[in-house]
């Protein structure tokens, strides 16, 4: 428990790239087992952790696995034996672990994974896209996405607290934009190790259970007598997902007292309270969108931004209450579900009443940059069209900048 006297936060100022911020958080969380397979743009995490462990700054086992599938399977095994474990990956690597992701979540074992978001091929592309992170949203993992290197650090550290909470017991994936955050240097504040230790105690192996020789002769996972048991198991997972909203709020509340860094737990609001129009984004480009919001405000538009921090548990209430009373919502997806459209737009459209204008914009795929100016234009056009022509309900609208013929 945190020392109630330490309401004044303290920390050390450091500068580092997003990937190293992940490694720094893993180090401060005193992880016991790390297992990861290199893939651009996650490699800096793996290399930094290797170095940290080699230098003795973190007393942990680093497993040099032969694939991402082995990476997730081995940290899963470590967690089942009572350790605090971590892995990290991207796009193709994440999909190589797909089967294991579901198994890990339904085993109700705590785990933390960093996903450095990256486009999927072919053609080969190492640049940023959120499709990979969102493609695991059905698995039972809690999924958060950071928008700054500071938040990368904070989200990774709180992930352990959230995952191991008895009311949650679900693994947590922390997303960070490939290259845009992973390889970009920003100054961050890092709390003191003793403050982190006081707030985040070592993993209790007994929670929820441990597979160990000489331990309780439990068997994990054999067929249930009735399929109903399995259905119930899923229902309980869903309850934990709901509980997780509360735990996430508590965790950030505690963390805020510790570090002075406050976050709204699931979604953050930027100039929302008196907004008539809202844009919705997730990830690093939210910063560019905020610049656009400021510019539009200067032009007289009453517009604000909802930034999704956690897409699972699904922030239905959190988004609904902010959408209440606005005239239009425009969602930006840096991802795409083939044959459907932007995933966030698809999930959020139902929360926006039918008498409210809605547009889902697919942009920034494959790492294509979207500037604040472009955000501004797209949002302004949406507002102007709604004001002039009435409500639109467009779930999918492609924004592809001029390619000059593609040459």
């Amino acid at each position: 428990m945190i020392n109630q006297q330490n309401v004044i936060s303290r920390g050390v100022r450091k500068i580092m790239v997003g990937d190293h911020a992940v490694a720094e958080a893993v180090k401060m969380a005193r992880v016991n087992v790390v297992s990861a397979y290199p893939i651009t743009p996650q490699t800096l995490i793996v290399e930094k952790l290797s170095e940290i462990i080699d230098k003795g700054e973190l007393k942990a086992d680093f497993i040099r696995v032969e694939s991402e599938f082995a990476a997730l399977a081995s940290v899963y095994g470590a967690s089942a034996a009572g350790a605090r474990a971590f892995t990290a990956t991207s796009s193709h690597g994440l999909f190589y672990m797909y089967e294991m992701l579901w198994w890990a979540a339904a085993s109700r074992l705590p785990l933390v994974m960093a996903v450095v978001t990256r486009t999927l091929g072919p053609p080969w592309n190492i640049h940023d896209e959120h499709t990979d992170l969102l493609a695991i949203r059905d698995s039972g993992w809690i999924i958060g996405m950071a928008s700054s290197v500071q938040e990368v650090f904070d989200m990774t550290l709180t992930a352990f607290r959230i995952s191991e909470d008895e009311r949650v017991l679900l693994p947590v994936a922390v997303g960070l934009d490939g290259f845009v955050l992973s390889h970009t240097t920003e100054p961050i504040y890092v709390p003191y190790q003793e403050d982190v230790d006081a707030w985040l105690p070592p993993r209790n192996p007994k929670v929820p259970y441990v597979i160990e020789p000489g331990g309780e002769p439990i068997t994990l996972g054999n067929l249930p007598k009735s399929d109903l048991y399995h259905e119930l198991h899923k229902a309980y997972m869903d309850e934990s997902m709901s509980e997780a909203k509360r735990v996430i709020a508590e965790a950030y509340n505690e963390y805020g007292k510790l570090t002075g860094k406050d976050y709204e737990p699931l979604v953050e609001c930027y100039r929302c309270s008196d907004a008539k129009y809202l844009a919705v984004t997730m990830g690093a480009w939210s910063g560019d969108a905020e610049v656009a919001i400021d510019e539009l405000r200067n032009e007289g538009y009453q517009v604000g931004l909802i930034r999704i921090r956690y897409i699972r548990p699904f922030p239905d209430d959190e988004v609904s209450e902010r959408v209440n009373g606005v005239r239009g919502v425009i969602v930006f997806d840096r991802d795409y579900s083939m044959g459907f459209g932007g995933i966030l737009a698809g999930e959020l459209m139902g929360l926006v009443p039918s008498n409210v204008s809605f547009k889902g914009v697919v942009a920034g795929l494959a790492g294509v940059d979207v500037s604040p100016g472009e955000f501004r234009t797209i949002i302004r056009d949406f507002i102007n069209e709604t004001e002039a022509n009435g409500i639109m309900r467009i779930r999918k609208w492609w924004y592809i900048p001029n390619t000059n013929g593609g040459d």
Binding site: S107, R108, P208, Y229, Y236
Partner: protein, 89 residues
């Protein structure tokens, strides 16, 4: 930890977890204790762990679970076990 989260995930040891498997049998092994040389091979090879090799080294078959596979008959070095057809009423 006995919480609802893991209630349907964890199992504990029990006899007959696969059912009262003695009902699978169509033939039943009977041990002739006079012939039995107390070698314990039938106990060793029984796939169902349904034969007890007692303190005095005689054997006793648990018919609640014996599936009647016949391996005990096959491995007995002195042919002290015979199979009785249980289909005949």
């Amino acid at each position: 930890m006995n919480s609802v989260h893991t209630k349907y995930l964890l199992s504990r040891p029990a006899m007959g977890a696969g059912g009262k498997t003695g009902t699978w049998r169509i033939r039943k092994p009977i041990v002739n204790l006079d012939k039995c040389i107390k070698c314990g091979l039938c106990w060793l090879y029984c796939p169902e762990n349904s034969i007890d090799w007692l303190e005095d080294k005689t054997v006793s078959i648990n018919y609640d679970y014996c599936k009647g596979c016949g391996i005990c008959v096959d491995v007995c070095p002195v042919k002290a076990i015979t199979m009785i057809d249980e289909r005949v009423v």
